[in-house]
């Protein structure tokens, strides 16, 4: 029943966030990575900033780090295919993506699994958080907080943390 109440900003932004992450609900073996990110790209502002939290090291490609601009984000998510594979939700029915919003910010909570191509190690992130900021119906910022231990280790080995400045 339509209650006649207008949607709140949070409801509108959560709807947009669900659209952006819709590709996650298609199993990676069926996902066409040339097109699946298009809803996400369509929702990005031209000057979107994608930031993956974590210690940055020039020997570790893609992430952690910052990507600025929609085209750079498109390039990064294409490049990602060479680094991780089989990126999927663990169980999209038992544990769907969750969304928590306040104002222009939406926090997306994901349980994900992926394989690091270089080592073949499969990583299970029991929880990862994606903080998304919206501006005029477009995503202006992404900030990802997740465990990247196995990925960083795959690139620069165990003990890397004691050798950084």
């Amino acid at each position: 029943m339509n209650t006649g109440q207008p949607w709140t900003k949070e409801q509108i932004n959560i709807g947009l966030a669900k659209n952006a992450w819709s590709y996650y609900y298609v199993h990676s073996s069926l996902r066409d990575t040339r097109t699946c990110y298009q809803p996400l790209f369509d929702l990005c502002a031209e000057d979107v900033v994608w930031f993956h939290e974590g210690p940055q090291d020039p020997r570790v490609p893609t992430y952690p780090g910052e990507v600025r601009g929609k085209q750079a984000l498109v390039d990064m998510l294409t490049w990602e295919n060479d680094i991780v594979a089989d990126l999927d939700l663990v169980d999209p029915i038992a544990r769907p993506i969750e969304f928590v919003a306040s104002g222009d910010r939406v926090v997306v909570l994901i349980e994900e699994r992926y394989k690091i191509i270089k080592t073949g190690v499969t990583v299970h992130n029991d929880r990862a958080a994606v903080v998304m900021d919206f501006r005029d119906g477009k995503i202006s910022h992404f900030r990802i907080i997740a465990n990247l231990s196995d990925y960083i280790e795959s690139q620069i080995g165990v003990g890397w943390s004691t050798k950084m400045d």
Binding site: P64, A101, S102, D126, I145, N147, G159, T162
Partner: protein, 143 residues
Amino acid sequence: MDNMSHARRAYSGLEATAGVRAIESSDYSHYFSLLADNVVLKFGIPAGTPIGGGFSGKDAVIHFFTTTAPELFENVQLEGPLEFLGSQDRVVVLGRESYTIRKTGVRARSKAFAIVLDFQDGLIIRDHEIKEMTEFVDGWRIN
């Protein structure tokens, strides 16, 4: 009092000293008072570290913050005010912290976290802390 207010109260002790001094166990007193007896605390980092498996029950969670955490980390500093987002039974707390890992002596700086608190009847029943703790995990993988 709604759950957002409960969450703000839980961390008020930590926020009160942010930027002034390192966190002390007593700063968690409001948080402890809001824990349900069957609370579960998880960190979402790989097993093989002392906190990878999480903690179940109020006494175990309090023991973690008062005894285990100080043995693992020192000079833990909250960086700036926390941000609270939420609705109904769930509140997400965003912030940053710095700490020294006792095992390696490595100072982990400006580490982002998202704490997901689930409430039931005004008490915290789940505290899932999403923390990017790569230096800590690496430290425990060194033989």
